[in-house]
């Protein structure tokens, strides 16, 4: 049975985590993601869960590390400056091969920046978000419904690959209210966490969770093995495609920008321009193969993003610069309009004809 309610994106994230069996949330307030923590604070005590407002973002991510080491599903959320503070913990989680779900509802930056929506933490999220060789799985929802669905999936992927899965949203998606079907229950992972620190009870060898290696050969080997795993994870790369079969101009956009782009593409089609959209749903792994395949037919690409141009580098790499790639962007908390995107499409279509 469908069960529709009206939710903010931030609330949908929180509810999805609860339905995925997450009973341990460690947070610290920051606009525009505070509703995640507020929702958890209200709900967790009623379902015998733990909501804890930590003394800082750094403390919160390390509490996630501790809880995850004990084998439970744990989550933290923040917005851009807070994620920077968490980056040390993200690296330690990766070094310990621990699953976790971390939410970044991006705001304008750099520095304290602003509280309006942004996508300028793309590099930070997709290049790892901390020191050392590692990756996060990065999921980019574009509706409140996907905030819900992808959060449940994030817990699954995190457990399956023993990685941090990040939900990369923006202030607009966090704050907007939309109807959501919340009837989907999360499947509490069947992956036995034999590595977890659950107490030996005198019946097994003790587990150790650690990211310090005194022998550099051992550490190198561990990095090799971790990257063999990442090669497997590359296979989950996924897109949503909109009118791309006959498209001459392909817009690449994620999150709220993809929705704005769809409006522009509808307008372009009315004007006889064959435009389409590829929306990466996973930002790491980036859908390189899908982009490469599209470049075989399309004549030009436009990347729409709320940054000075970050995802554009992945698009150019994926298509090996075989087609022109334009940037249509706003930043600092500004959101592109459908008209701005339409103008970029028209410009690319004109250039391609001449």
């Amino acid at each position: 049975m469908t069960e529709k309610v009206l939710m903010k994106g931030n609330e949908a994230l929180a509810e999805a985590a609860l339905r995925a069996g997450c009973r341990h949330f460690f947070g610290y307030p920051i606009t525009p993601q505070t509703e995640v923590a507020a929702y958890m604070a209200k709900r967790m005590p009623k379902i015998s869960g733990t909501y804890l407002q930590a003394e800082s973002e750094i403390a919160a991510i390390n509490m996630v590390l501790g809880a995850s080491a004990a084998g439970v599903r744990a989550m933290t959320s923040s917005s851009s400056p807070g994620i920077s503070l968490k980056s040390e913990g993200l690296s330690y989680l990766a070094g310990c091969d621990l699953p976790a779900v971390v939410v970044n509802i991006q705001r304008g930056g750099p520095g304290l920046g602003g509280i309006r929506p942004s996508q300028s933490d793309y590099f930070q999220a997709t290049r790892s978000g901390g020191h050392g060789d590692f990756h996060l799985i990065v999921l980019a929802p574009d509706t409140v419904q996907e905030m819900f669905d992808l959060t449940i999936e994030a817990f699954e992927l995190a457990d399956q690959y023993r990685m941090t899965a990040m939900i990369l949203g923006d202030g607009m998606l966090g704050q907007v209210m939309e109807p959501v079907d919340i009837s989907r229950e999360g499947t509490v992972s069947t992956v036995a966490k034999q590595w977890a620190l659950t107490g030996t009870k005198g019946t097994r060898k003790k587990n150790i969770i650690n990211s310090l290696y005194l022998n550099e050969e051992e550490l190198e080997m561990l990095n090799f093995k971790r990257f063999e795993k990442y090669a497997e994870v590359e296979k989950i790369a996924r897109t949503e495609e909109y009118f791309i079969d006959d498209a001459d101009v392909i817009v690449v956009a994620y999150g709220i920008c993809a929705r704005i782009a769809k409006n522009a593409i509808d307008e372009a089609r009315k004007k006889g321009i064959k435009a389409g959209l590829i929306r990466p749903v996973t930002l790491w792994p980036f859908p390189k193969l899908q982009l490469k395949a599209a470049a075989a037919k399309a004549k030009a690409f436009i990347v729409v993003e709320m940054s000075m141009g970050q995802m554009i580098e992945d698009v150019e790499l994926s298509i090996r610069c075989s087609r022109p790639v334009d940037l249509c962007n706003r930043t600092g908390g500004m959101v592109p309009t459908p008209d701005e995107v339409l103008a970029a499409i028209e410009k690319a279509a004109r250039a391609e004809r001449s």
Binding site: A38, K42, Q175, V176, I182, R259, V335
Partner: protein, 224 residues
Amino acid sequence: MNYSRITIFAGHYGSGKTNIAVNYALLLRQSHKKVMIADLDIVNPYFRTKDSEQTLRKFGIKLISSDYANSNLDVPAVPGEINAIFDDLESYAVIDVGGDDRGACALGRYFEKLHTNDVAAFFVINMYRPLSREAGATIEIMREIEFAGRIKFTGIINNSNLGIDTTASDIINSLPYAEEVSQKTQLPVVMTSVKRNLAVGLETYSNNLFPIDLEEYQWQKLPN
């Protein structure tokens, strides 16, 4: 309709207070010359009364809003100008309060001024919000707001909706819920607010329909 000189809209976070408040101010303006609307929201940094600034200006309604609303400065500020509402006895005013008990705190400091004025205080409810789906939970939120805001509600507004997807049957299904909240609190349901295009056809189900227009945002149109 008899209007109180000051009408307060408060309720659960995301229940639709701002939309109702703006539409109510527009309604008031049809019969009164001097109408003001004050944004007392100190909680929510996005989607503020200020989004309707153009509409309000067009109809000659004075907007009292923090200079920092919809800006990058995330400070809980209340404009001093709000005192005009209490002191200008010629005016009719709408107060849009922030969500939940935390938002209602800002109202508490006006306790004495409110008690010497002609005030209606409406509690906005939405059955489709996840934390106010049952009458019991809704009333719990209402009591928290009354305590924090130092007010007593005088009526209920049933604003049950699923945003842009709301259908007539969603409204009809919410009527027993609103009735239950009303019975348990002994407060009348003063209005059932619905998107204007749904109002026709719902008249047989409700005798207090309040058709409203919503602020449109450009990314809301979502092609499927």
